[in-house]
Amino acid sequence: MGYKAKFRVWRGEGGEGRLEDFTVEVNEGEVVLDVIHRLQATQAPDLAVRWNCKAGKCGSCSMEINGKPRLGCMTRMSTFEESETITVTPLRTFPVIKDLVTDVSFNYQKAREIPSFTPPADVKPGEYRMQQVDVERSQEFRKCIECFMCQNVCHVIRDHEENKPNFAGPRYLMRIAELDMHPYDVAERKESAQEEHGLGYCNITKCCTEVCPEHIKITDNALIPMKERVVDRKYDPLVWLGSKIFKRQR
């Protein structure tokens, strides 16, 4: 049943730190977060880790396990060999507060830069009528649990800190797509997606989709459709010409 596993866990306050080795008991059916908690309870009471629901629904325990962004609560120990050394590090793209806890305020700042849902002024609460097919696309994006692993894995900011001011990241570009596809949203979002939120930085290499614990097809269903909508507005000469003529006629 139980065995002793070898763990290497990043310890340190701020960016300075090192990988510390631990040998810790693992029981059948446990996940990485359980083992981290056992370390806390037995060997390192001040080991910092962020967690909450333990069921993959809140998106708090994002960390990098053997170099891959994962939710600690959704990574079963049975997926590793007993002899394997498991390396656990904090998300790389954000500054470290302590141990496995990072400062994710970048994401909240980006959230505030996306204009909110803007319904027409004359629709009152209770009067909304929307068909299921029309809300389904945006509903998929609203499954997001904001674990920020897509933001963390995206090479645009992971490998290039300097792009942070100009790039909203997959989670918030998806938020733009969600609102742009909302049947009642009237705000302009295409031009600004490209000009202000950095949609053009995305080179659709799909790591956001790969790490999404909710299996949202971020790239195929949000980012690429949004890129196509931007093409309509900015790059397609025919659509552009058509809209000019149409506008003049009106």
């Binding site: 996940v31 880790v49 629901c53 505030r112 609460p125 609203r142 904001e146």
Partner: protein, 628 residues
């Protein structure tokens, strides 16, 4: 020390907290939201079913009166009827408002918000988004806060001018000026630095107490902070003996122990079996339900296809009955290897059908337990889910007995009586979140002058104590023992001797908790955080145990082995907990419940009320009916 001045401080950023903060800000108050987790991670995200609101989109016969009746019935008539009334009347507006803030509920064919059936609700009533309604609610409220901040940025150049989120910040004490609230004291989880809020009004929206139990569907945040803060500030808690245990939580693997397995598994054909393979629920049909539930497997199986001519399978008995039955089977040694019973749907439906009807359960078991529910049975057992009790508040304003203190959501008590209906918690958050926010704003408007903060040094000393002790108790061990005690001795089925034993253990644990020591620095130190939370969990556990010992009847979320019946006399009584300001001891007193208003009580049939009310109350009912 960091100090902030606000009009309203909301503690907790779940549904109730955010809705309260939005309301306070919309009334022009400078509002702070303080939460232990990151913004948007609150436990509300775990709610699956939906938000109950009598919009009548699916069945036009539905209205607030039907919803009110269902709620009172569910709570076995112990509910604060004024809260149940407001809740039933206002829930639709609160749900529609969310839609205007960007929520995307599932739709009916004619484009309205779709509503689903749920236990105890007469009509399809739960507005939902698949099985992630709680997440939708939190996200919508979170985005509404952001929208208000964007507005403030345009108006004042500072997004945080009127509403600011203090995430990963824990409040350890409410501060007072004489009798009234004057602020709150807490620490940043990140840095361990202290923070003082100078505010005349505080709204508690901290959720429940599940972390006092081993097996719970609640997250680590549910340490009863709001309950304890209110007690220590001099407010009263009511109905603390009523705790809802959900019959089917996962029992294996250990990491997910307690996580919910939705009721619809049983609704869609799942059956409960013990280790001998017997469908044991047939042995546990109580007499009052004998005519409504099938007595043979054949009849029960026919019900799924023909509900008109067959009685329901006993797996669909009310939550408390099923929980008790599972508990009894396990105690009798007929449990599954990991201490639950088997919930099997694999032998009942084809694999494709299971995946179609129960996608999230299939996913949950696959990802978390490596169990394919289309091939093998699940192991389930009861799990601590929700506390009906909480801060005693005024129904209309959410005001507690301490001036300046307000409460909403799970931390407040009364609305759900002795048992909460599924779907009523999300609507509760919205209705009473808004009312508490408005109540706090009105209270601030009516104040002649701002109160002054006192007691900061004492609060600071209390918070630093675990770090300054060396060689004391390990807080994790104390916590673990408390959880085991509550689970084993004040769990689903309670007995006088066991509760008394639990109270003795709690006394000892209180002593040990005063001696806990946490090593390491103040920067993000979970050992220290737990040592501080222990005070709250112990206070709340003591309330639960003492109230449970006093109430000598079984009703809703309180089952006494030694008093199995429901008593009309006890229905009139609420148990009210209060604490010494230093938190050393809890007193529980009886209080007579106010009689229901005439127009509300006459919504019920006499024959139904006879099961619950005393003769005296029935006479009042007859008078009310005559009058109307």
């Amino acid at each position: 020390m960091e100090r902030h001045e606000y009009d309203v401080v909301v503690i907790g950023a779940g549904g109730a907290g955010l809705r309260a903060a939005i309301e306070a800000r919309q009334q022009g108050k400078r509002t702070a939201i303080v939460c232990k987790s990151l913004f948007g991670k609150a436990h509300t995200v775990m709610a699956e079913g939906g938000a109950a609101a009598a919009m009548g989109n699916v069945n036009p016969s539905d209205n607030w009166m039907v919803h009110f009746r269902d709620t009172m019935r569910g709570g076995k008539f112990l509910n604060n009827w004024r809260m149940a009334e407001l809740h039933a009347k206002e829930a639709p507006d609160r749900v529609w408002e969310l839609e205007a803030w960007g929520a995307l509920f599932d739709r009916t064919k004619d484009g309205k918000i779709s509503q689903r059936n749920f236990g105890g609700h007469e009509y399809p009533r739960l507005a939902h988004v698949g099985d992630r309604t709680g997440l939708e609610l939190i996200r919508t409220l979170q985005q509404r806060v952001v929208a208000l901040q964007q507005e403030d940025e345009k108006l004042h150049g500072d997004p945080e001018a009127y509403i600011k989120v203090f995430a990963e910040c824990t409040i350890t004490r409410l501060l007072k000026d004489g009798d009234a609230i004057s602020g709150a004291f807490g620490y940043w989880r990140e840095t361990g630095d202290f923070i003082v809020f100078d505010a005349p009004a505080v709204v508690l929206a901290t959720g429940g107490i599940g972390k006092s139990y081993v097996v719970t569907s609640n997250s680590w945040e549910y340490t009863g902070d709001g309950h304890a803060l209110a007690l220590l500030a001099g407010a009263k808690l009511i109905n603390m003996e009523f705790i809802q245990f959900h019959p089917t939580g996962m029992v294996w693997p250990p990491s997910v122990r307690g996580i919910l397995v939705t009721e619809s598994v049983r609704g869609d054909g799942g059956v409960l079996r013990n280790s001998e393979g017997r469908r044991f629920m047939f042995d546990y049909i109580p007499d009052v339900f004998k005519d409504k539930y099938a007595t043979t497997e054949e009849e029960a199986d026919r019900w799924y296809n023909d509900q008109a001519n067959n009685r329901r399978p006993p797996e669909l008995l009310p939550r408390d009955e099923v929980a008790r039955a599972i508990n009894a089977e396990v105690k009798a040694g007929r449990g599954s290897p990991q201490g639950g019973v088997f919930l099997d749907v694999s032998s009942r439906l084809p694999a494709a059908e299971i995946i179609k009807r129960l996608p999230s359960m299939h996913h949950q078991f696959k990802e978390l337990a490596d169990v394919d529910i289309t091939k093998e049975p699940m192991q389930v057992g009861p799990t601590c889910h929700y506390i009906m009790g909480g801060v005693e508040v005024d129904a209309d304003t959410g005001a507690a007995s301490v001036p300046g203190l307000f409460a909403a959501g799970e931390v407040s008590g009364g609305m759900h009586g002795s048992n909460r209906l599924g779907g009523n918690s999300l609507s509760d958050l919205l209705v009473f979140g808004r009312r508490a926010g408005a109540g706090a704003a009105a209270y601030v408007d009516g104040l002649p002058k701002r109160p002054t903060v006192t007691g900061v040094e004492e609060a600071k000393a209390e918070a630093l104590a675990p770090l300054e002790r060396t060689g004391g108790e390990n807080p994790y061990e104390v916590h673990h023992e408390l959880q085991r005690t509550m689970n084993d001795l004040v769990g689903i089925i309670r007995k006088s001797e066991e509760i008394s034993e639990a109270l003795e253990v709690i006394e000892k644990l209180k002593e040990r908790a005063r001696n806990t020591a946490s090593s390491g620095s103040r920067i993000y130190n979970p050992g220290w955080h737990l040592a501080l939370d222990l005070r709250n969990m112990l206070l709340v556990s003591e309330c639960v145990a003492k109230a449970a010992l006093m109430r000598e009847e079984s009703r809703g979320g309180h089952t006494r082995d030694d008093f199995p019946g429901m008593s009309a006399e006890w229905r009139r009584k609420l148990l009210v907990c209060s604490a010494e300001p230093d938190g050393t001891s809890i007193t529980v007193e009886e209080r007579v419940q106010q009689s229901m208003r005439g127009d509300l009580i006459s919504l019920f049939e006499r024959s139904e009320l006879e099961k619950y009310l005393t003769e005296e109350e029935l006479a009042e009912y007859d008078a009310a009916v005559k009058e109307s």
